[in-house]
């Protein structure tokens, strides 16, 4: 079907309204204003009006933002020096901090607070709130933000990026246009900045096409499962921070939990599970529910009420997994480029700084009217020379150290911290899904498996909740009459290979019950994709052992609503 599409001309197009791109857009507006004021005074050339546009797949800014989080304010202070006065919605400065190693019934406090986990001077924040606030600042500065516009395809001229095509609206589940069909718009721009967050779909296309990841390591990820609880009293002061390792995760599964005190008697609690575990029967959601049954947590949450649930993957590979960050007409920043510091569990401050540095680079490009790699490429160096680069370099072997199990990892990490990151070699890493071990013998259907590690988990709807109930609390919503946005390249693999080799782990690693193997009659089974449950965490795209799942953005506006997450 040949569709006529409108073209929208912009100067700078940013895909994804997260902290990286909003910081970039805001900083760029400031730089342009400052430049024009100086030029006006000195009589030199001002820049003509620069049209900056940010497109975002969610229905409102912040709706798809999910993080713990504890924010290092260093880059926010540079972006908006008086951010407290400007109403930055910070929950509280970090107060009491604890790190525990959990056993099934007990907890062992760590004798010293590991430096990377020291949060004095940092703030507990809701990334959703922070992003909404940054969005307001951007709009006040004249940046155009378009929610409900997902980026569907990159637009090229040869290998140079010239813009992005947004997703079509109004396609029914068979792929035919509905009465409300609106073709996606071709937004052209001199430079496109991809800040789509973890496992960005356009970034994935771009990196593959231009081989931007050759020479680097494959990215590795964790998935964070999070719940927001409302308490009846002030038992957990805002700014309180707890981190745990150990139970319930086994020694071959990387991960740990966080508990942060928010304002208004809210407790933010979650578990990160490394997406390079070995047992395909592992279910991150179930691990999190188990974690809550630990006496320490059970007591903390008793009497409280679950108010929201969410999940999102995060890139933890760090320094060696960052791709080439620029090419002709395009830049990649933030989690899409793997700028999260896995050792400190922080990616927001690096995203903001990266956005600011990208703005400087774009400013330069605007003045020179040159948006090729030769001008934009300065960004790669700027980032590596900044404090983002130095802290990512120090943490460069963090996740890699755990590749051989928790003990090895802790020892290696201990050495790394003591030596300021100076480890003899660059530790090897392979993509997470490659760690999955095939099931042996009669373990055919992981759900019916006798020695189910979750056999003792009973959902009581007060402390623990089954996946379907949790999904309800993510407020995720998609128009049912559209094609499934989870493209599985070959559904036969699910039945012919995956069922026996891995037991269809998509049913386990998806935190939203999107994937279900159901009876199809005649004793056969088929994969049912309940795409409307999707919370856009990207775990399936990352963890599927055959890499046949391709996550693409659904019709704009669909997805979770992570208010205050």
């Amino acid at each position: 079907m040949t569709i006529e599409r409108e073209t929208l001309e912009m100067d700078v197009l940013l895909v994804g309204a997260g902290p990286a791109n909003l910081a970039c857009a805001l900083q760029l507006s400031k730089l342009i204003a400052a430049h024009n004021e100086r030029a006006g005074q000195s009589g030199s050339k001002q820049l003509d009006e620069v049209n900056i546009a940010v497109i975002e797949k969610a229905a409102e800014i912040g709706a798809h933002q999910l993080s713990g989080a504890v924010l290092d304010p260093i880059s926010l202070r540079e972006l908006i020096p008086d951010f407290e006065k400007e109403g930055a919605p910070l929950e509280a400065p970090v107060g009491e901090e604890h790190v525990y190693f959990l056993t099934e019934r007990g907890k062992i406090p760590l004798p010293i607070l590991p430096p990377p986990l020291r949060n004095h001077g940092n703030f507990v924040v809701s990334l959703n709130k922070l992003t909404r606030w940054l969005g307001e600042k951007c709009e006040a500065a004249g940046v155009n933000i378009f929610p409900e516009f997902p980026g569907a395809e990159m637009l090229y001229d040869g290998d140079a990026v010239i813009g992005v095509r947004t997703g079509d609206k109004g396609i029914d589940k068979t792929g035919k246009p509905k009465p409300n069909f609106e073709p996606g718009v071709d937004i052209t721009a001199k430079v496109t900045v991809l800040g789509e967050g973890v496992r960005g779909s356009l970034a994935k296309q771009l990196i593959n096409r231009l081989k931007l990841d050759s020479g680097g390591d494959p990215q590795v990820y964790s998935v964070g499962i999070k719940e927001l609880w409302e308490m009846p009293d002030d038992r957990f002061a805002p700014g309180s921070v707890i981190h745990t390792m150990g139970w319930p995760l086994d020694s071959h599964t990387f991960g740990g939990s966080w508990v942060y005190g928010m304002r208004d008697r809210l407790i933010d609690i979650g578990l990160a599970v490394g997406l390079d575990y070995r047992d395909p029967r592992i279910d991150p959601h179930h691990e999190f529910q188990l974690f809550k049954t630990h006496p320490l947590i059970k007591e903390l949450l008793s009497g409280g009420k679950l108010i929201r649930y969410g999940a999102k993957a995060m890139p933890v590979g760090g320094w060696y997994t960052m791709p080439q960050l620029t090419s002709d007409g395009v830049m990649i920043i933030g989690d899409s480029a793997g700028m999260l510091n896995g050792e400190r569990l922080k990616g927001i401050h690096t995203a903001i700084k990266a956005g600011m540095l990208a703005a400087e680079t774009i400013m330069d490009a605007l003045i020179r009217s040159d948006f090729s790699r030769s001008t934009l490429g300065v960004f790669d160096k700027k980032l590596r020379d900044s404090y983002v680069g130095s802290e990512l370099y120090k943490a460069r072997n963090f996740h890699q150290a755990f590749d051989r199990g928790r003990m090895f990892g802790l020892i290696t990490e201990g050495v790394s911290v003591l030596t300021g990151g100076r480890l003899p070699s660059r530790l090897p890493i392979k993509a997470g899904h490659k760690h999955l071990q095939k099931l042996t013998g009669s373990d055919n259907d992981s759900r019916d498996n006798g020695d189910n590690r979750y056999a003792g988990l009973k959902y009581d709807d007060k402390l623990t909740f089954d996946k379907l109930t949790d999904v309800y609390y993510s407020a995720t919503h998609h128009d049912e009459d559209q094609p499934a946005h989870l493209k599985v390249a070959d559904l036969n693999i699910c039945i012919d290979q995956c069922a026996s080799e891995f037991g269809n782990p998509c049913q386990n690693f998806c935190p939203a019950n999107v994937y279900e193997m159901v009876e199809a009659g005649d004793g056969k089974r088929r994969l049912q994709i309940n795409f409307s449950n999707c919370v856009h965490c990207k775990t399936c795209d990352i963890m599927d052992p055959y890499q046949i799942i391709d996550w693409v953005p659904p019709e704009g506006g669909g997805g979770p609503n992570y208010r205050n997450m």
Binding site: D466, L468, T469, V471, Y472, N530
Partner: protein, 332 residues
């Protein structure tokens, strides 16, 4: 000096739109509080029945505005006609109901008259001779009173449901109906009308059914649904389903109850083999009486059921059907 209140009556294919009577309640209220006369205008072709229905209400006059160019609704036609009506009658207020059709033409009418249009009002207040219209702002969080200081006529539309159509006062005797002369010869209708769009008729509107029997995953296979259908038949109930049944296409989508289906509140909801996941429960929790059959005593459906049987539905359903039929036969 402008005087009087003009009420716009909406009709389609000779059938009156009942929200016009809601607007009439407001118009009658303003008329009696200010002492102004109230007249109603009906536009279209072959609208005598509608006019008669309006004339039976307490209004001072009914104007029928007929022209070939008004036989189907078009914004061009309606705006041109109403401009002439307003020019001749010179009312203080033009009252309309805030329907899709009004939203389509009234802004243009107001703009071409150069007059104020206060939209989607939920009430009004009369102080002395001054009328203030109540509107909501900030997504319904605050009510504001809008007093228009511009020259009349002032257009105002009322939100559907702000008033009740059955509260429109009836007249003591039918009001006079008069044909209103307009001239639309120079008016060009730019809209090209397509055949009318007919929404696909749903086989059943579950929200109207007083008795519902809903079947869930516990039924295990498509063949077994017939057993539940027999029960529904015996009870005189509609059959419905939870999502997995419709995903498997064992029952059509319009039978689905839940967050991605219909929401119902029947007198009796019998859940057969339904676990009671929250996505289903939000679609039926306001049912007056809920009965659940499930072999899992821990199933969440029992948390909201008024009566429950923990047992095998394959035993219980046929037994229930037989008993109901027996009682019906005895009674007859």
């Amino acid at each position: 000096m402008s005087q009087g209140i003009l009420l716009f009556i909406e009709q389609r294919d000779g059938v009156l739109n009942r929200t016009s009577f809601e607007a009439m309640v407001a118009a009658q209220g303003i008329a009696s509080a200010t002492g102004e006369k109230l007249s109603a205008a009906v536009l279209g072709k072959a609208i005598d029945a509608v006019a008669a229905e309006v004339a039976a209400k307490k209004v001072d006059a009914v104007h029928t505005v007929e022209d070939d160019k008004l036989s189907e609704y078009t914004p061009d036609g309606y705006v041109a006609a109403l401009k002439q009506v307003v020019a001749k009658l010179d009312p203080r207020f033009v009252i309309l109901s805030h329907t899709y059709q009004v939203r389509d033409f009234a802004p243009r009418l107001a703009a071409s008259l150069g007059k104020t249009f206060v939209t989607d009002c939920v009430g009004f207040r009369v102080e002395g001779n001054e009328v203030a219209f109540t509107r909501q702002i900030f997504q319904g969080k605050i009510n504001t009173d809008v007093r228009v200081v511009a020259e009349p006529p002032i257009l105002a539309s009322f939100q559907a449901g702000a008033y009740r159509a059955d509260k429109a006062e009836a007249g003591d005797s039918p009001a006079p109906i008069a044909a209103f002369a307009i001239d639309l010869t120079d008016v060009q209708i730019r809209t090209q009308l397509e055949p009318k769009f007919q929404e696909a008729k749903q086989a059943v509107d579950l929200s109207q059914a007083p008795l519902i029997v809903a079947v869930g995953r516990g039924i295990k296979s498509q063949e077994n649904i017939e057993m539940v259908q027999k029960l529904a038949q015996a009870m005189g109930a509609e059959i419905a389903a939870s999502r997995p049944i419709c995903d498997n296409e064992w029952l059509p989508m319009d039978r689905q109850i839940g967050s991605s289906g219909q929401t119902v509140s029947p007198k009796l909801y019998l859940a057969v083999g339904i676990s009671g996941a929250i996505q289903h429960v939000v679609g039926m929790k306001n049912s007056q009486t809920i009965v659940a059959i499930n072999k899992d005593g821990e199933a969440p459906i029992f948390d909201i059921a008024d009566y429950g049987i923990v047992g095998d539905l394959f035993d219980i359903v046929p037994a229930l059907t037989a008993e109901i039929n027996r009682i019906k036969n005895e009674g007859s």
